[in-house]
Amino acid sequence: MAKGLVKKTFIAPLGKDNPVFVQILGICSTLAVTNKLENTVVMTLGVMFTTALSSFTISIFRKLIPARIRMMVETLIIATFVIIVDIVLKAYMPDIWKQLGPYVGLIITNCIIMGRAEAFALNNKPGLSLIDGLASGLGYAYVLLIIAFFRELLGTGTLWGVQILGSWWTNWSIMIMPPGAFFMLAIFIWVVKEVFIKEESK
């Protein structure tokens, strides 16, 4: 395996092929779980775990999976890993599991995971697919963490549940409600495209 290829596979989802702000995938969970930093961290770890391992597993089976039913097989494998995340959280982090509620199960429908399986894992070796999945998960994670940082800070004046802004701060309740997520995501995509991606294309 060429070293350059590994590096390229790893870097692309973090920057110019980022699943969230370039491909605009996984928006549902980006909007839903970014109002508290703590929940976002657990959610993104779950997604990273699932993308990496499902890509890896699908890649192992890629020559055996009949093309006709590949979507069903992919969903099944993804669902298995999501249920593993769900059970582990339920057993070892019950408080966070309670807070995340249905969102853990909804990782199954995160288009990033399915997208990577279809676009990458079916045509590449397991090792490379694992890296691709992990990097896609990372690319998703850091965008969500940035959004969650601002939403929690502006919406409740706290970070990780710790009060940061003093009593002079009036909480922007809109930031922790669903519309706040749309504003933050749009501003984020705008800033990234205006500042970083524009420079690259020049």
Partner: protein, 197 residues
């Protein structure tokens, strides 16, 4: 392109799907069985913590200690938990559930022995909006019920000072009303349930 054989076209996908399904189910159910005891213990512990909280008993954040305290002072008869608080008298804890904004809200409501004041509430489950309605989980909101008795009137956040007034949550009026409704039902039905009528 050569024509696919009957086996490759019809039988193999079926067998493959069957095989991979069995594999996936084996992995998940294995993990489920492996963690089952722990999950049950977690749920059990959570219930005990909620009962103690509603009764106004403070407890350390320790698995064994909580179980010990619970077994020592709590007696369960039907739906009612009778908590013997020693010098603090007796408290009765009864579960009440009502509709919230997104899903049911289940509370443990603690009654002082004389049935004229509450000893607190604990939240078993809720699905309210994180950051808004879900703030009913915050200690100050739960603790405001201590020593009060309904029927309750809802007032603006941070202004409740009468024994029948409760703070609402700004930005979560529907959730606040839901809790108010459950609590009003609790103070009207609770005493009868406790007396076993």
């Amino acid at each position: 392109m050569k024509k696919e054989s009957f086996f490759a076209k019809r039988i193999y996908p079926l067998l493959f799907m069957l095989g991979i399904t069995v594999l996936c189910i084996a992995v998940t159910s294995g993990l489920y069985l492996f963690t089952q005891e722990r999950v049950e213990a977690n749920e059990n512990l959570f219930l005990k913590k909620t009962v103690l909280e509603a009764a106004g008993v403070s407890y350390p954040d320790d698995f064994i200690e909580i179980n010990r305290i619970f077994d020592e002072i709590v007696r369960e008869t039907g739906d009612v938990f009778t908590v013997n608080k020693g010098q603090g008298g007796t408290a009765f804890v009864v579960p009440f559930t009502g509709p919230g904004l997104w899903g049911p809200i289940s509370l443990m409501v603690g009654f002082a022995g004389e049935l004229n004041a509450l000893t607190g509430i604990g939240i078993i489950s809720q699905n309210e909006t994180p950051g808004l309605g879900a703030r009913i989980e915050e200690p100050w909101y739960k603790q405001q019920f201590i020593g009060k008795w309904g029927p309750f009137t809802m007032v603006e956040e941070g202004t409740a000072d009468e024994p029948d007034e409760i703070d609402s949550l700004t930005g979560a009026t529907r959730t606040s009303r839901s809790v108010q409704a459950i609590m009003n039902r609790a103070v009207s039905e609770g005493p009868q349930i406790i007396k076993g009528e």
